[in-house]
């Protein structure tokens, strides 16, 4: 599991906007556009608020009825996908210019 104390933040090259229940992400460096579903959009909002992974998990657990272990696994998977697509970066990473 990803270290709970870690914080991640949206990549500065990403712009996001709610479109109904979903959220559209535009990666301006890779020219890719993504859509997050309602669950993913909620996670994105928490990331934007600067929550640590532990806080993020706690909040999501309280909002969705799902086993903790399964939830953690799914959150880790989504976070990894977000990282792979350069949509989020570790909070201690230097912003790209």
């Amino acid at each position: 599991m990803i270290d709970s104390a870690r914080r991640i933040r949206p990549n500065e090259d990403v712009v996001s906007r709610r479109m109904g229940e979903d959220l559209v992400l535009v990666q301006l460096e890779t020219n890719q556009i993504f859509e997050l579903n309602r669950t993913g959009a909620r996670l994105w909002e928490l990331i934007r608020e600067g929550k640590s992974l532990e806080e993020l998990r706690t909040i999501i657990r309280s909002e969705f009825r799902v086993e903790a272990e399964r939830l953690d696994r799914e959150i880790d998977r989504l976070l990894q996908e977000l990282k792979d697509q350069h949509l989020v970066v570790d909070d201690d990473e230097e912003p790209t210019r």
Partner: protein, 206 residues
């Protein structure tokens, strides 16, 4: 105008129905086992189709010669602006296109006010005309970039807006347009204001 040249449909599909929700808290729309949290999306962008380039005709030259001096100059300056915008779209990232510093640095003196409506219309007309003549894909973003560049050379400051709209079928439409303190510049072939305002603006790029 197209934001990104793309064709085809959504790459990944959301699968699964919403699980039953037993509280009034937000419920999951897709099951945890699904792969639909993050989906790459193709965007349908606004573009104009033109016949294959057949050169400049004598009739076109005749019309050009009848233009006033300002129109001629603007039209001639629009050509490199369109070519450059198309090159940028093919070679650099959206970020570099949208935050192009050269547009501003080329300005003789960055004026605080935006261009007057007449300047806007002239620049938009010239870019649209050159976009039809020059070979290459004619999209809303290219036109916006070219028009912004053209106006910047005259010292006028404008910004590019990028917006999305969801269709009833769930597809994403993308559009880009220019904005200035003095006027909005939907491209001349655009539909009316109602259609234009359907886009949710994601950000303006100066």
């Amino acid at each position: 105008m197209n934001l990104l040249a793309s064709s085809g449909s959504t790459v990944a599909n959301v699968s699964g129905d919403d699980p039953p929700c037993r509280s009034n808290r937000p419920s999951l729309r897709v099951g945890f086992e699904s792969t639909g949290y993050l989906r790459p999306r193709a965007v349908r962008i606004v573009y104009w189709n033109h016949p294959i380039w057949s050169g400049v005709s004598v009739a076109m030259l005749g019309r050009f010669l009848q233009l006033c001096r300002d129109d001629k100059l603007t039209l001639l300056r629009a050509a490199p602006a369109v070519i450059r915008a198309r090159q940028m779209m093919q070679t650099v990232s959206l970020k570099s296109c949208l935050q192009d510093r050269r547009d501003r640095d080329d300005g003789i003196a960055s004026r605080l006010e935006g261009p007057n409506p007449q300047e806007l219309r002239r620049a938009e007309w010239a870019v649209a005309a050159m976009s039809r003549i020059l070979p290459g894909k004619d999209t809303c973003l290219v036109r916006s970039l070219a028009t912004r560049g053209l106006l910047a050379r005259r010292g006028f400051s404008t910004e590019i807006m990028v917006g999305f709209a969801k269709t009833d079928e769930g597809d994403l439409d993308g559009h880009a347009w220019l904005h200035s303190p003095t006027a909005q510049v939907p491209s001349s072939d655009d539909t009316d204001d109602t259609e234009f305002s359907k886009y949710t603006k994601i950000r303006e790029f100066r």
